[in-house]
């Protein structure tokens, strides 16, 4: 008798836990209740004051609850909730690197009908939209509404440029100009503490190397993203010229995985770096003068990888119309207030916001106009495939580090990357 009672008690406790974990009703006191989940923990107050409160004021029948999750835990929480079939909220922010994982599982609903009903595509930098479509396919449903896009920027240290009497970079620069300037900016100090490098290279994390390869005529993936293109002659030539910047021209330091991305530039030991433009937030407290320019043009012109953040409405949201009102508000931000802070100063994809003084003059102050202008001349590409992080972390990055450090030839390194990409992509193509 005792044991069944114990089980009963156990069951009651479990039920209590489950009830405690349950979600709120979508309609409370005649108001629609929505939950917005984002990972901008440091900007939590800005989100509350500049987005949520004005939205609720403009939509008195909608109440918004916000949950800010640390970025490091966000994907784990989102994907765990996807696994359990209980999405974390009604509207969620999605980063490009895990978006397709959610879209494959129909975690969010297609937004095309809302988008075409309420918004004008001409008002957006639509070249950034593909990565937010299911399967990364330009003709597939739009699974999240793009809000901000990262572009690759050429960061430069004005103090070091002035010291070496080198003209600042501008949108006319080619990679040949970059090399010429990098040579002048690299000093030959024997003491490593006084050494300055012309250029700091990304060692394979897609914060610049991807832009370099594509701009110089190479490709990492085939156009349909089903195979590697690492062994194509143009790719090998582009990678060789990238490696040569360290191994032959000696204008950039060898890779150091123990250093944070861009650390040498942040410390004033490198005069230039190609990096995703959100790195400017890290430079707020730099002790030197700096600015940004568009990346140089290669034989393929200016190529830029699509990335950024978008907002999706989860499959379990009971009030998708109200949720869309919130998504639309976040993306177009009628008040424009806070536009510079909300997405870590990444470029808004809604043109009126990107061209607004609130964004262009935002802190830290730099030539944002040059970055926004990339959208008129640059071409975007995307590297997101199923399992892309695996082929990057176990194939592209380690082999790129080996090539840059001179431990592997470019031919060997590209062949190893090629094998890994094809192995991973084949696994995802195979029926499970």
């Amino acid at each position: 008798m005792k044991v069944p009672r114990l089980f009963f008690l156990f069951g009651v406790c479990c039920l209590a836990v489950l009830i405690g974990c349950g979600s709120k009703e979508s309609i409370q006191n005649g108001k629609v209740h929505l939950k917005l989940v984002h990972f901008y923990l440091d900007q939590k107050d800005t989100w509350q004051h500049d987005v949520v409160e004005p939205f609720m004021k403009a939509h008195p029948n909608i109440e918004v609850e916000v949950e800010a999750v640390p970025f490091g835990l966000y994907t784990t929480k989102i994907l765990s909730s996807a696994a359990s079939g209980t999405p974390m909220g009604d509207v969620i922010v999605i980063d490009d690197w895990f978006g397709q994982e959610l879209f494959r599982r129909n975690y969010t609903i297609p937004l095309d009908s809302f988008y075409h009903r309420d918004l004008n595509p001409d008002d957006f930098f639509t070249q950034f939209f593909t990565v937010w479509r299911k399967g990364n396919n330009a003709n597939a449903p739009l699974m999240a509404m793009p809000a901000a896009g990262g572009v690759t920027a050429l960061f430069y240290n004005k103090d070091l440029f002035d010291k070496a009497n080198v003209k600042y970079p501008d949108s006319t620069w080619t990679y040949s100009d970059l090399l010429t300037a990098a040579k002048k900016l690299t000093n030959n100090a024997s003491n490593p503490r006084d050494k300055t490098w012309g250029l700091l290279l990304d060692d394979g994390l897609f914060t610049g190397v991807d832009t370099y390869i594509y701009s110089n005529g190479g490709k990492i993936l085939s156009d349909d993203k089903t195979h590697s293109a690492m062994m194509e002659p143009q790719t090998i030539a582009a990678v060789q010229s990238y490696v040569d910047l360290i191994q032959k021209e000696h204008v950039a330091p060898p890779p150091d995985p123990s250093q944070l991305l861009g650390q040498r530039f942040m410390l004033g030991h490198a005069a230039m770096m190609l990096h995703i433009d959100v790195a400017k937030t890290e430079l707020k407290h730099a002790t030197f003068r700096w600015d940004v320019a568009a990346p140089p043009k290669g034989v393929a012109g200016l190529m830029d990888r699509q990335n950024g953040q978008a907002f999706g409405i989860t499959q379990t949201c009971e009030q998708p119309d109200s949720a869309w009102q919130l998504v639309k508000w976040v993306v177009t931000l009628p008040s424009k207030t806070g536009v510079n802070d909300l997405f870590n100063s990444a470029m808004p994809l809604y043109k009126p916001l990107a061209h607004s003084t609130e964004f262009l003059d935002g802190e830290p102050n730099c030539n944002r106009q040059a970055l926004v202008a990339i959208n008129n001349t640059g071409h975007v590409f995307t590297l997101i495939t199923p399992g892309w992080q695996e082929w990057r972390d176990h194939g592209f990055t380690p082999n790129m580090q080996d090539m840059l450090a001179g431990r592997k030839s470019v031919q060997e390194g590209c062949a190893a990357i090629d094998r890994k990409i094809n192995e991973v992509l084949a696994r995802y193509r195979a029926p499970q």
């Binding site: 005792k2 009672r5 114990l6 008690l9 156990f10 406790c13 479990c14 994907t75 784990t76 994907l79 765990s80 996807a82 696994a83 994982e101 959610l102 494959r104 599982r105 975690y107 490593p192 503490r193 050494k195 060898p254 890779p255 150091d256 995985p257 123990s258 250093q259 399992g387 992080q389 695996e390 972390d393 176990h394 990055t397 380690p398 082999n399 580090q401 080996d402 450090a405 431990r407 499970q432």
Partner: protein, 286 residues
């Protein structure tokens, strides 16, 4: 009635154990036989994950690197902590201060320590290479060089964890009756002989315990490689724990990650069993 009350008191712990320990252990065992990407339905594939891992070059490379790290770290860590314990066993001035100082790294955040050590190891402007240059040695590019990166992490780990084992050794040393040492001294035994014939045998049960937990800890190395090198340069510091985490939470492949976890568990179990088997040969049983 009494037993029911007892069960009631135990209930919170039992619920916690079932929900947070037993459940995940059993679930991950089942998942290791499935193809399971987070969010999708698990598909049973039998030994597919295990077969794929055992045929993968990377798995064997990572396992080898984990063993290499353990080989570097365990003897150095045990020797350093025993040395510190022997030094701090003496009744000297400032004993509490020194014990606290040597224990401080244990309570320091691993992430903070790893970042600081990353700077110390900097090949160009790091303090370590600067000190080596004073005595005429040109230091390696510690964390940039695949040959040196894992030894560098092992050195940092020894510094970080030696204080913990030191406290265990100190407790063990305090339990050795002073009479044995006095008698040996009267018989003319040197300090080395007393250490070898008295201290070491009587400390061997403690040494065994320290060896087992340090070995298990070595196999589980994660934070150091995650913060200091991200598994690089190349994949030279990728260890099993990091590989498991990466497979689960970066590649979202929980099936493969669960299989890796069980292979990892078997390796640790085998090693611990070997240590227990060898115990009779060198551990003193009173």
């Amino acid at each position: 009635m009494k037993s029911r009350t007892a069960y009631l008191y135990l209930l919170p712990v039992l619920i916690g154990f079932v929900v947070f320990t037993l459940g995940p252990v059993l679930a991950s065992f089942y998942l290791s036989f499935t193809h399971y990407e987070i969010g999708a339905k698990p598909v049973f594939i039998g030994l597919g994950n295990y077969r794929e891992l055992l045929q993968s070059h990377l798995f064997w490379q990572v396992t080898g690197q984990t063993f290499y790290y353990a080989l570097l770290y365990v003897p150095a860590s045990v020797a350093a902590s025993l040395g510190l314990a022997l030094l701090l066993e003496k009744k000297i001035r400032g004993l509490v201060f020194f014990r606290t100082v040597y224990f401080l790294p244990v309570v320091t955040s691993m992430v903070a320590a790893a970042i600081i050590w990353g700077w110390l190891y900097n090949g160009d402007i790091g303090l370590l290479n600067y000190l080596l240059s004073i005595i005429g040695i040109s230091g390696p590019k510690w964390l940039q060089d695949p040959k040196w990166a894992l030894p560098a992490i092992a050195i940092m780990s020894v510094w970080k964890n030696a204080g913990y084992n030191m406290m265990i050794f100190l407790a063990g040393l305090a339990n050795i009756p002073n009479d044995y040492h006095e008698a040996a001294r009267l018989d003319g035994a040197s300090a080395w002989e007393r250490f070898r014939k008295i201290t070491l045998p009587l400390l061997s049960p403690v040494m065994f315990f320290v060896l087992v937990i340090t070995t298990i800890g070595a196999f589980q190395v994660f934070e150091q490689t995650y913060v200091m090198t991200n598994g690089g340069p190349g994949t030279s510091t990728l260890t099993l724990s990091y590989y498991i985490w990466q497979t689960a939470f970066e590649f979202f492949n929980l099936g493969s990650s669960s299989a890796l976890s069980y292979l990892f568990f078997l390796i640790v179990l085998l090693f611990t069993a070997l240590q227990f088997r060898a115990r009779k040969r060198w551990v003193y049983q009173a």
